[in-house]
C-alpha cells in the first residue's frame, strides 16, 4: 500500500507539467500559499466574525451550526468537482498484489484531496483556539473526532453518490434541489435543521453513549465505496458502452471546410469532460453580473467596461486562452490533412465571434437594470470580435502544452503556461489605456464610441489580421506540435 502511494506521488512530481514551467510553478505556489493563509486566518478569527454577525452567541454552538452548511456544500462540491482516483489502478491489476489492497488504495488516496485539506484548514485553527484551549480534554477530543468523522464520511460517500447519480443529470438536479430545500427551510426558520444538527452533535459529545454514530457513518461510507469499487475493478467495466446521441451538427456541412472544422470543435466541447465543464461553469459566471451591475456602479466606467469586456466573453476567453492546446491530442491530423491553414484560423475566429455573441445575448437581460448596459456591451462585443479575438489567437500560438480532454476542469492547470498570464494584460490593458487617453483628452463621454469604432476597424481589417496569424502559426507549428506530443 505504501509503495502504491509513493508511485502516485512520483506520478505527480514527475509529471511533465511541473518540469516545463518554473515561473508558472512559482506563481501557482504563491497563489496557493496565499489561499492557505486566507483559510487559516478565517478559521482563526472565526470567533470574532461569529460574535460580530450573531451578537452574543455561543461561539462553539454557532460554529457547529455553520458546520451543517459546510458539510452540505462540501458534499455538493465534491460531487461535482472531486476527481476520484479509480482508473489509476489498471496497471497494477495483473501484478501480484492482493486485490483488496488495490481497492483500498484509491479510497485511501482520496483522503489526500483538496477538499479535506480545505476542511482541516478551516476547522483546525478554530478548534485549537476556541475548543482545545478552553474546553475539557474529553469534550475537545470527542468534538474534533465527530467533526472529522463527518468530513471523512462525506469523502467516502462521494464514491457512491458519483457512481449512482453522476450519469443522470436529472437526479443530480433533484439532489441539488433537495439540498436547496433543506437550506431554505433552515434559513426561513421553518425547520431549523442546523440547530437540530448542532444540538445533535452536542448531545453526542456530552452523553458519549452514541459517540460512535459519526464514526459509523464514516465506516459505512467507506465500506460502501469499497463494495462498489470491488464490483467494478475489472478493466472491461471502465470502458462502459453507452449509446451515443448523434448530435451531428449536419447543418454545418453546408459551410464547407470552415463549417466542418467548427463542427469538430463543437463535438470536442460537448463530448469531452474538461471543455464541457468549462462551458457549464462559464454559464454560471454570468451571474456575476448581479455583483457588477449595482446602482452605485452604473456610472463607474471602469467597472462597466470590465464587465462589458469579460462577462459576455466568459466562455470565449476561458476557452480561447487554450486555443490549439485543446486539439493537442489530434493536432498531427490537422497538420497532415488537406486543411488550409487560413480556413483553420478563420474557423477559430468565427467560433470566437459566435460564442461572444451568444454570451452577449445571455448577459442582455441585465439591460433591464439599465439600458446603458446593452449599448456598452454591444460596443465591447464589436471590440471583442475585432480586437480581443485577434490578440488571443496571436498569443495562443505560444501554447505548447498538451491537454487531456477527459480530465476534470476543477483545479486543473494542465495546459496553463505563461501565455495565459500574458494574454490577459493586453486584453484588459488596451481598453483601460483607451479610457485614460479619453480622460487626459477630456473626451470621456466618447469612450464607448471609441471602443465600438476600434472594434469595427478591427473587423474591417480582419482578413489582414488573420493572415498575420496564419504566418505566425506556420512559423510556430513545429514547436507547438512537439509540445502537444509530450503527454
Amino acid at each position: 500500500m505504501y509503495k502504491l502511494l509513493t508511485h502516485q506521488w512520483k506520478e505527480k512530481i514527475r509529471s511533465s507539467f511541473w518540469q516545463k514551467n518554473i515561473i508558472l510553478n512559482i506563481v501557482l505556489g504563491i497563489l496557493g500559499l496565499y489561499l492557505i493563509l486566507n483559510f487559516i486566518a478565517v478559521s482563526f478569527f472565526a470567533d470574532k466574525i461569529l460574535l460580530d454577525v450573531f451578537k452574543d452567541c455561543d461561539v462553539i454552538e454557532s460554529f457547529t451550526r455553520l458546520l451543517f452548511y459546510y458539510l452540505l456544500f462540501d458534499l455538493i462540491a465534491r460531487f461535482f468537482f472531486q476527481q476520484l482516483p479509480t482508473i489509476s489502478i489498471q496497471p497494477y491489476l495483473t501484478l501480484p498484489i492482493k486485490k483488496s489492497t488495490l481497492i483500498h488504495y484509491p479510497i485511501i488516496k482520496s483522503v489526500f484531496s483538496f477538499f479535506n485539506l480545505l476542511a482541516i484548514l478551516l476547522i483546525l485553527p478554530f478548534f485549537i483556539k476556541n475548543i482545545y484551549l478552553t474546553q475539557s480534554f474529553q469534550f475537545s477530543l470527542l468534538w474534533i473526532v465527530t467533526v472529522l468523522s463527518l468530513i471523512a464520511g462525506n469523502n467516502f460517500l462521494n464514491f457512491s453518490l458519483k457512481k449512482y447519480f453522476s450519469r443522470q443529470a436529472l437526479i443530480s438536479l433533484l439532489f441539488l434541489s433537495f439540498v436547496g430545500l433543506l437550506i431554505y427551510l433552515d434559513i426561513a426558520k421553518i425547520i431549523s435543521i442546523s440547530e437540530y444538527f448542532s444540538a445533535a452533535i452536542f448531545y453526542l459529545v456530552n452523553t458519549t453513549t452514541f459517540i460512535f454514530v459519526p464514526a459509523l457513518f464514516a465506516v459505512i461510507s467507506y465500506y460502501w465505496a469499497y463494495t462498489i469499487l470491488k464490483n467494478n475493478a475489472y478493466i472491461e467495466d471502465s470502458q462502459k458502452l453507452t449509446i451515443k446521441k448523434s448530435n451531428g451538427f449536419s447543418f454545418l456541412n453546408n459551410y464547407g471546410e470552415i463549417g466542418q472544422l467548427i463542427g469538430v470543435e463543437l463535438k470536442m466541447i460537448l463530448r469531452n469532460k474538461r471543455p464541457r465543464s468549462l462551458l457549464y461553469i462559464s454559464g454560471l459566471f454570468v451571474l456575476y453580473g448581479f455583483m457588477f451591475y449595482k446602482n452605485e456602479n452604473l456610472d463607474n466606467y471602469i467597472i462597466l467596461s470590465l464587465s462589458g469586456l469579460l462577462l459576455p466573453a466568459m466562455f470565449s476567453t476561458n476557452y480561447g486562452q487554450f486555443l490549439f492546446s485543446w486539439e493537442s491530442s489530434f493536432f498531427d491530423s490537422y497538420l497532415t490533412n488537406k486543411i488550409s491553414h487560413f480556413n483553420y484560423i478563420k474557423s477559430k475566429h468565427i467560433f470566437f465571434s459566435i460564442s461572444s455573441s451568444i454570451g452577449f445575448l445571455l448577459v442582455l437581460p441585465y439591460a433591464l437594470i439599465s439600458s446603458k448596459i446593452a449599448f456598452i456591451n454591444a460596443a465591447f462585443l464589436l471590440y471583442n470580435i475585432g480586437i480581443s479575438s485577434i490578440i488571443m489567437m496571436f498569443f495562443c500560438t505560444f501554447n505548447t502544452s498538451y491537454i487531456d480532454l477527459g480530465k476534470s476542469q476543477f483545479m486543473n492547470y494542465q495546459g496553463t503556461g505563461i501565455t495565459q498570464f500574458l494574454v490577459i494584460l493586453p486584453i484588459i490593458g488596451f481598453p483601460i489605456l483607451i479610457y485614460y487617453l479619453h480622460i487626459i483628452l477630456g473626451i470621456l463621454p466618447f469612450y464607448f464610441y471609441t471602443i465600438a469604432v476600434t472594434g469595427l476597424i478591427g473587423i474591417a481589417l480582419n482578413k489582414y489580421f488573420l493572415e498575420l496569424i496564419v504566418s505566425r502559426f506556420n512559423y510556430r507549428k513545429y514547436k507547438m506540435a512537439v509540445g502537444f506530443r509530450q503527454k
Binding site: E257, Q260, L335, T336, H341, L405, G406
Partner: protein, 229 residues
C-alpha cells in the same frame, strides 16, 4: 516523386536521422526496416512536415514540403493515434476527412462497403474512437489514409496490432494500390511482411541508411541475418 536532400534531424547531440540523398521514384513500394531508435518514424515525420529538419529538406513533386501545402492533396498518411480525432465516432471521422477531399456521406458509405472485410462498421456503431482497441484504431487510421485516393501513401507500422485476417487483407490491398501506380512507404518490424509486399527495402541504423536494395528472393534471409544477434 519524393526527394530527401542532405536531410538531418538532431536532438541535442543525438543524431536521429542523417540522409545525404534519397530519391523515391513514382510507384516505388518501400519497406523501411530498422530497430527501435533507428530513425524510421523520424524519417516519415520529416516527409510529412510534422517536425522541422535541422538541416536539409524534403521535396515532394519538386516542392519543398515545409514551404508548400501542395503535397497534402495527394498524400495519405497514418503514423499513430495522433492522426485520429478521439471523440468522433469512426463514421464521423471518415466523413470529416472525406469532406476535406470533397467527398459526401454517400461516397463514404460506398467506401466503407468496399472495404467492409477490413472494417466492419456495424461493430462500432455507438462508440467513439477513443473507446476502441489499438487494432481497431489502427484500422481506422489506415482506411482514412486511403480515403482521398492518394498518389503517395505513408504508413508507420501498419501491420502492428492487426489480426491475421486483417494483415493479409492489408497486404493484398497495398499490393493492389501499388499495381495502380501508388507510391507507398511503410515501416515495419515484420521482415516477412515487408519482403513479401515491398519492391524496395531501406534499412536504417542509427539514423543512417545502411542498405537500399530491390527485393529479391534472398532479401529476407539477408535481413534476418542482419538483425540476428
Amino acid at each position: 516523386m519524393i526527394e530527401l536532400i542532405n536531410l538531418q534531424k538532431v536532438y541535442g547531440t543525438q543524431v536521429a536521422l542523417s540522409i545525404g540523398k534519397l530519391e523515391i521514384a513514382q510507384n516505388d513500394f518501400i519497406g523501411l526496416v530498422g530497430n527501435n531508435g533507428a530513425g524510421k518514424t523520424t524519417m516519415l515525420s520529416l516527409i510529412l512536415d510534422l517536425i522541422k529538419p535541422t538541416k536539409g529538406l524534403v521535396k515532394s513533386k519538386s516542392l519543398n514540403v515545409s514551404e508548400s501545402d501542395e503535397w497534402k492533396n495527394y498524400t495519405g498518411s497514418f503514423l499513430n493515434e495522433g492522426f485520429l480525432i478521439p471523440f468522433l465516432s469512426p463514421i464521423e471521422f471518415f466523413e470529416f476527412i472525406g469532406s476535406l477531399h470533397g467527398k459526401n456521406s454517400a461516397d463514404i458509405k460506398d467506401f466503407l462497403e468496399e472495404n467492409e472485410q477490413f472494417f466492419k462498421q456495424d461493430a462500432f456503431s455507438g462508440k467513439y474512437i477513443r473507446e476502441l482497441s489499438a487494432g481497431n484504431k489502427n484500422k481506422i487510421g489506415i482506411l482514412a489514409s486511403f480515403l482521398s485516393k492518394p498518389e503517395i501513401l505513408i504508413l508507420d507500422e501498419p501491420f502492428s496490432n492487426l489480426d491475421p485476417s486483417s494483415q493479409s487483407w492489408l497486404k493484398s490491398k497495398l499490393k493492389a494500390l501499388s499495381n495502380e501506380g501508388v507510391t507507398i512507404l511503410i515501416s515495419s518490424h515484420d521482415l516477412k511482411h515487408v519482403t513479401e509486399v515491398c519492391n524496395r527495402i531501406l534499412l536504417l541504423e542509427d539514423g543512417h541508411i545502411v542498405k537500399d536494395t530491390n527485393t529479391s528472393n534472398e532479401t529476407l534471409i539477408e535481413l534476418e541475418q542482419y538483425f540476428d544477434i
